[in-house]
Symmetry: C3
Subunit: 202 residues, 3 copies
């Protein structure tokens, strides 16, 4: 297993935990909680795969994803109180997941022969639409439309990746730098309470 | 037309009626009601087909599905009062549909060369996501996340099908037994008011 | 660029503006507004392409769509007050988009070898599901299920196109006539406050 594979499983794991927490807050039953955890973890990548015409999606071709999601479910369901106390560490992993899914989604789209503009869009879709589907299924206005710098951090990370790629051949380094850009912007946004202007009337 | 085909049309018909009833309750207009009826009937199978990469979906390759849905719409729209009185019989057909769609979805996924774990997941998706899409489109928190044993009955039926398949070669019998398992669990859950624990904090 | 291509870009542009306006009303941030604009413009055609198995969707194969959407976003975001005053003209373009997307969706489906019944359904899906996805993402009951003749105008335009096609070989004329049917019905419905019966209990 490569470092990137490992980090993708970590991202899946943490995104699943975030979905389970939301479902627990909403008082869903066990099955509903498991479904929301799974959808949050794999929804973005699945939507990307459907859009770029690469089906069945990755998680359908390797059972590891199902086991990662199921482990996240078991752990967060039965140790829910402890997980909540770990919120700060969870935020870090969630943000790593965000950065990784952006760059992995971008790369997969380029590998399918699509343009770099579309690859940037698909990178952002991979990273954020799991959360959007989670919010739609739990009948909330998606969080990313209302709060904080989230999709835009992914977007900037994707642009940085493309820029570095033009001038450098050290692929692994490029991935690490652009993931760090996403993490940096997102963390700064939360710590410094950055936000984007809401709308032209304000 | 085989027995299985016939039962699949019955399931489609009854799921469409359930969608039409929901839309009528929500005061949707004629077109909205027809759309919700159709989405409830074919949404789960369509999502499965998109995910496993088998598009166009079955209902797009045979017009029979459209006619079945349209008949269900006409009947339930114009004889709405009588249909409501038949609720108990409708429940039976809805539950038959649930069982059938689970096993048909599982089999179609295996036939596409995917693993049995994924086939179980896709069986449940086929059976329950029509209702989930109906609830999302009518702006409700999906019922299956909140109430009663529903997705879990499908899940157990799918497991039973796989288990019997390991030891028996009587395919038709396996289908019937596992569909009956779904029907039995679902019916018992409703009659005996079984429910799954809501969440770890309770 | 053919006249049809040009009109498709116009439809995309106007649908994007309608999405941006909705997001501004909902007080989404800049990124959320851009996403809702894009989804409204290309959601219906994308869903059609996924359903008929023609992925990646058209907008992923030509960057022009992204630029059209981005222009619509910039213009409607920064000149929002003026755009609101142009509502009447916007309605005309929105209705042209509705008619065009219906007939283009129908033709693309027929070109994929699917039946005319399915082509009619896919024409309507192309035209109206962008708006449905917009409403789902902004947590509203989709407008088309509740108000005015909208999907039904598309449906009738699609039928007219098929009927003329049986008796005439002047393809361009057929397109224009059936798009005008959609525009005519939709405009009459709004001006004369036509509506479809809500439900059998009224």
């Amino acid at each position: 297993m490569s470092l990137l594979d490992f980090l993708e499983y970590v991202g899946t794991f943490v995104f699943a935990i975030s979905g389970v927490m939301t479902a627990v807050d909403k008082k869903f039953d066990v099955v509903g909680t498991l479904i929301i955890g799974a959808v949050t973890a794999i929804g973005g990548g699945t939507l990307r795969d459907i859009l770029i015409g690469s089906t069945p999606a990755g998680w359908m071709q390797s059972s590891t994803y199902l086991y990662v999601i199921f482990s996240a479910f078991i752990i967060s369901y039965f140790f829910e109180k402890y997980i909540r106390k770990l919120r700060r560490s969870l935020f870090i992993f969630d943000t790593i997941g965000l950065g990784l899914f952006t760059i992995l989604g971008l790369q997969k789209t380029v590998a399918m022969g699509l343009s770099t503009e579309i690859a940037v869009v698909m990178g952002v879709v991979s990273a954020v639409f799991g959360g959007v589907i989670r919010d739609v299924l739990t009948n909330e206005v998606p969080l990313i439309f209302r709060k904080e710098i989230y999709a835009s951090a992914c977007f900037l990370g994707a642009l940085v990746f493309l820029l570095i790629n033009l001038i450098s051949n050290y692929h692994q380094v490029n991935v690490i730098v652009s993931v760090l850009v996403v993490i940096g912007i997102r963390t700064a946004a939360v710590k410094l309470k950055w936000s984007l202007p809401f709308n032209p009337r304000m």
